[in-house]
Amino acid sequence: MPRNQLLKVVFVLALIVGSLFSLYPTFQLGGMQKNETFLVSRITKLTGLTKTDIEVGLTEGTLESKVRDHTSQDSLENALQLADHLIKLNTKIIKVEGKAIRRGLDLQGGTYLVYEVDLPQLLNDVAKNKDQRLIDIIKATQKQAEQSGNDFFDVLQENFRSRNVRLNRYFGRKGETDDDIIKELLKASEDAIDRTIAILRNRVDQFGVSEPSITKQGTRRIVIELAGIQNIQRAKKVIGTTALLEFKLVRDSEMVWSVLNDIDRVMRLKRKGQQPAKVDTAKLAEADTTQFKEGKKAENKEVSLSDLFGGDTSQTKAGKDTSLLVDQNTFNEKPFTSLLRQVTGRYSNVISVPIQNVAAVQRILQLPEVRQVIPSDSEFLWRIKPVVVGENSYQQLYLVKKEPELLGSTLTDAKVQISGGAQSLTSGAAVVNFQLNSEGTKTFAKVTGMNVGKQLAIVLDHHIAMAPNIKGKIPSGSGQIEGMSSIDEAKDLALVLRAGALPAPVYAITENTVGPSLGHDSIQKGQKSAIIGLLLVVLFMIFYYRGSGAIADFALLLNIVFILAFMAGFHATLTLPGIAGIILTVGMAVDANVLIFERIREELRTGKTIRASIDSGYSHAFKTILDANVTTLITAIVLYSFGTGPIKGFALTLSIGIIASMFTAIFVTRLIYDIITSRVALKKLSI
């Protein structure tokens, strides 16, 4: 064999060996996963644990104790042995997984979530002064950016300019130019997103998902991919919580009353000229509620929303059930207070709102004229959950000091505890204990010391979690949050408190969940069609081009090996459209060989020798193949940059396939021809 031929052969062989080496973990993984499924089903049979229990046990490292708790004595030893095998296998699998081709969410089942960071809220937070004009500008910016698809900050700057307002009125320092401020805001938002990603990663890690992927997309989006997760709703709740923890003082009853009086006055004026509500369909009052403030028994009655807001029906279109529960004795005199109740035995400054009145109360509190009479250093906050008294539920409303006394950022730890003690009301319920850092401890001690007898509200994401009475100075810097309805809820709260609050709220804008059964079907069907498609093409090539077809088939197989090896080597993700891309490559990769073979046939027809025909066949076809493939590559690259998830997978395998086919279909097949023709004097070419 000539030297340069030998070099080429060595090169191709080295590539093949390297590819197989890179693919080995993927093969290994297949076997391991089969073993895993087998072990899991054995353990399920022995212990009665579900598949989910076992998976959670594996990620949390609590499998052994779970098995111990659920297994009868006689099969315990066997079960523990199996569990031990499973744990060892699982660590191996995790190691190998990092080197194997990653299966996309559409193949293994899982959830793909896109979150957007609430930029308007972030801007609002960093603004020096917040007035209606700023709120209007931000609102308009948000809307325009959505409609036009332009960058949020460009639109913001334009909006300030068109209104003739300098940005430094609200942001940055005096004398700074608009451009500089925009740059700073842009940086602040990027920082916020990076911090958000870090916090979300922390949260998701604690939730126990294998290989979660959290990435930034554009300037304000975060993509989270969770593979094979069991409880999506819970995960989404943990991710979507801002977890902003604040401690705020609750205003005393005198102040609450005076604010309520003011609101009543405003509402009375607003209703002026309206017919007094009819008082015929009165219902009897519940025994345990009284009119707010006056302590008389409330006589409940149902009125419609328009009775309250006047004839302005534009406000009443939303709700299905617009009937409200009011106290008929005071409705005309005190339109607002008549919506409220006081639940016996609670603090007198806590307002209870019957659940059907909540929407109306919320709307009243939003009215501009009502907002004016609420003192600017105070705000109304709702409690997280309604309280149930007898058959009725009430949502509670607190008036608190706007400025928080202390922030949750001073928190160092949060743990779940099951509260004990038979005499305690909350015994057996889950609570979250938290611990503050030294600075937080100092402030906490000062605040509690100065406000003994008052209520300190623990506010989570602008909702009151609880508002206990301060009995005395708390020097330890530790506290407790109660009122969770389940242990899971308490666990999740402790988790988000530990991971920290997000710099700005996030909300989900896309969610795509693939169930494990569909993923499983997709893999099987994808594999099946790939094998059948490949087989048909291979057979066709041999049928049509005989010996040369066999050479092309060898190149084709090599091409597929290279695609897969590349994907494994770069730990790329294989999706179902990705499999389709490989299949399509199979069809298109033979094109290069078809071009060459057809050309060789033509050259042979003109009477050239076999070697000369092969030579000119390859050299003529090469230019065509290059042109044709470059154009296909252009579209594949466009596809890659525009597509999301699965589509990217398709563009990726297609691109790799095209490039690899240039090598296998031209270089490798040529080499094979050269080797054959240099050794044997062919009388007839099998083509």
Binding site: Q233, Y544, V630, S641
Partner: protein
């Protein structure tokens, strides 16, 4: 083995028939699009919620609709997929849930209404209306960018008129595939747009092979007319064009038949695209180049195929 020995078909001479054939296909597609009020977009582009669900026991689309109506999701679209024994449905609503997501709300209602009929959620997709608009824009941009890229590359490697021919052929392919989708009332999803781009790439591949031959022949056979050179070139590459289309068609048909529901429409678009793309690279791309050459060269009375060859 050989399907085509040397062929001598007067393809350019029959180009009027090809124009009529292509024109009527496109026209039917456009009429269908007008009747249907534009393409039927999938939720990728419109936003909304789609839930694919497989029940254990028999249930009718009406039963599911009753359940969904109770939540107040009025205009739900409920479609049975697969064979009836699968009890498998796709439920689509415009809503995207507030607080709890729409998919969960629907699941809970179904559990409540049909507690004895267990189900398996195959997939749940929720797309915000904002994303839908963005993706629509991105899809249009992607198609335009790839057409522009092709225009530039082909202009650089060949000549501008060849690029025009190629782009007209690609536009033709996408329009006809779009028309077929409209006629069959199939949805245009993100994956279908990807299929369109693949068709563009594939059809172009075929066209380039023909162009390459024309360029080569234009250098060798100088004395002949442009029409003859094109005819010779198309005939010489005909065998290759058909064989490659055949191998590609084999795999996409296999994909369509057994690739599963997820890529069913995607592979269908590819089947249509491969057939139309092959046709257009023979009957549309080169004739358009010829027409263009004739119009620009009429003053000089001579049709120049390749400037560089003279």
């Amino acid at each position: 083995m050989q399907f085509f020995k040397e062929t001598h078909i007067d393809i350019l001479g029959k180009r009027k028939f090809a124009y009529m054939f292509s024109g009527s296909l496109i026209l039917i597609g456009i009429i269908s699009l007008i009747v249907h009020g534009g393409p039927k977009y999938g939720i990728d582009f419109t936003g909304g919620t789609s839930l694919e669900i497989k029940f254990e026991k028999n249930i009718s689309a009406g039963d599911i609709r009753n359940s969904i109506n109770k939540i107040g999701y009025g205009s739900a679209e409920i479609k049975r997929i697969g064979v009836p024994e699968d009890h498998q449905f796709i439920i689509r609503v415009e809503q995207m849930g507030e607080g709890a997501d729409a998919a969960t709300v629907m699941e809970n209602q179904l559990t409540k209404d049909y507690p004895d009929n267990k189900y398996d959620v195959r997939s749940a997709v929720e797309i915000g209306p904002k994303i839908g608009g963005e993706l629509r824009r991105a899809a249009v941009v992607a198609i335009l960018v790839s057409l522009l890229g092709i225009l530039i590359y082909v202009s650089a490697r060949f000549e501008f008129k060849f690029a025009i021919g190629a782009v007209v052929a690609l536009f033709h392919d996408v329009m006809i595939t779009l028309g077929v989708f409209s006629l069959l009332n199939l949805e245009i999803s993100l994956a279908i747009v990807a299929a369109f781009l693949t068709i563009v790439g594939y059809s172009l591949n075929d066209t380039i092979v023909v162009y390459d031959r024309i360029r080569e022949n234009a250098k060798i056979i100088r004395r002949d007319s442009a029409e003859n050179i094109m005819n010779i070139s198309i005939n010489q590459t005909l065998s290759r064009t058909i064989i490659t289309s055949l191998t590609t068609l084999i795999v996409v048909v296999v994909l369509y038949l057994i690739g599963g529901e997820v890529i069913h429409d995607f592979s269908f678009a590819l089947i249509v695209g491969v057939v139309i793309g092959t046709y257009s690279s023979i009957f549309v791309a080169s004739p358009v180049v010829l027409e263009w050459s004739k119009r620009t060269a009429s003053k000089k009375g001579q049709v120049l195929l390749m400037r560089s060859t003279r």
